[in-house]
Amino acid sequence: MKVIVEEDKCCGAGTCVLVAPDVFDQRDDDGIVMLLDEAPGPELHDAVREAVSVCPAAAIGLIE
């Protein structure tokens, strides 16, 4: 699994951080998504898929 984020779509809600804090964080200055792990291990896949699905800006993509 490879995770892709589109920073210019991100709305800074932080939903991804609430769902998958090991994979996503937010920048301190503007809250835009930071990818901590672009190839997360299998134990994180469910959480990442949920983060993709519930992102309110549809700013996260996956290549599986």
């Binding site: 779509k9 809600a13 609430l18 809250g31 699905s53 519930v54 992102c55 309110p56 549809a58 993509g61």
Partner: protein, 415 residues
Amino acid sequence: MTVPPGSVLVVGASAGGLTTAEALRRKGFEGRITLLGDETHLPYDRPPLSKQVLSGAWEPVRAQLRPEPALRALDAELVLGDRATGLDVMNRTVRTESGRRLGADAIVIATGVRARTFPGQANLASVHVIRTLDDAVALRAELAVAGRLVVVGDGVLGAEVAATGSGLGLDVTLAGPQSVPMESQFGAWAGGLLGDLHTEQGVRLRLGTGVSGLAGVSGRVTGVVLESGERLPADVVVVAIGGIPATDWLADSGLTCENGIVCDATCRAADGIYAVGDVARWRHQGLGALLRLENRTNATEQAVAVASNILGADQPYTPVPYFWTDQYDVKVMVHGLIPADAEVEVVEGDPAARRFVALCRSGGVARAVVGWNMPKQTRVHRGQVADALTLADGVPAGVRQGLPSSALEDLASPA
């Protein structure tokens, strides 16, 4: 439902509907999924319509929620461009405008809201609403050649359209009945800061007065007439005066539709029938009241909860309400519901620097956190609001004092 269904029909193919289908698959559902939508576009996102799509920063296709390979991988049947016209609750069958009859073991209703309009508005050219992608594209084309824009409606959508119009270089007036923009969502204090921002950016505010009507010549709008008697000249008028839950098609279904589809705490409207998103009015156990939210995050969070409940979880849905808005270079977000009598305390940053987080308390309890250009720090404070919602679980009306009546309404008898 104790036995997981073999098939699920989702009525509504926007964020709530699509996320329901995705969540079902993610949770292992292998049965048939049908997604019925009344528009012909592939599922797209609505928040960008009043901002990036309207400004022209994005081509409309960028608002599409998922790339086509991801939609194919969902293995759901997409029935687009066909409107649901009726529901048979007993037989779990939906009738459509084109004559289809779609049946399933479970049905999820995610038909959203339609834009409220003024009487006679449809007969005047250059008067717009923004609910759909086609609405936004049509308005964008007119704004490109217009000089004066009047926005009627001082809620989230109206304020965003005013900001976008101002950014396009138009002469913009924002009119509405509240004393400050977005007062019902932000409260008087933060709404006042937003009003200051619009004024600085050159938007003329005509607040605290109702609109008595639209003026037109030869079938084209020429202005907006306020109850104060003032006439606001306009080349284009945007009417953003709220949404009406899209439940007309359920009139003879037997479902209770009162400002949305009334559901229990698990978002179930009847056996095997659920509602998700803007159209759903469910019992929020943390607040002890019926709640309907027109928020983007609610559509997806409720979709995930409903997917679980269809598969047997039977859990109450008790989210922390959340929304954000982008206007000019400002991003404001709210976790929770701001009480009318909120005591506001700035806990991070500085309002003078236009970067802060504030806690809104009522009766000593944290009810909401408001963030202004500090998204990450705002989320960090969300926990206090979540704690208060948990503490309120099952506690009757006393704890709800001061919450905005626009969002909360009790039913005479418990759902």
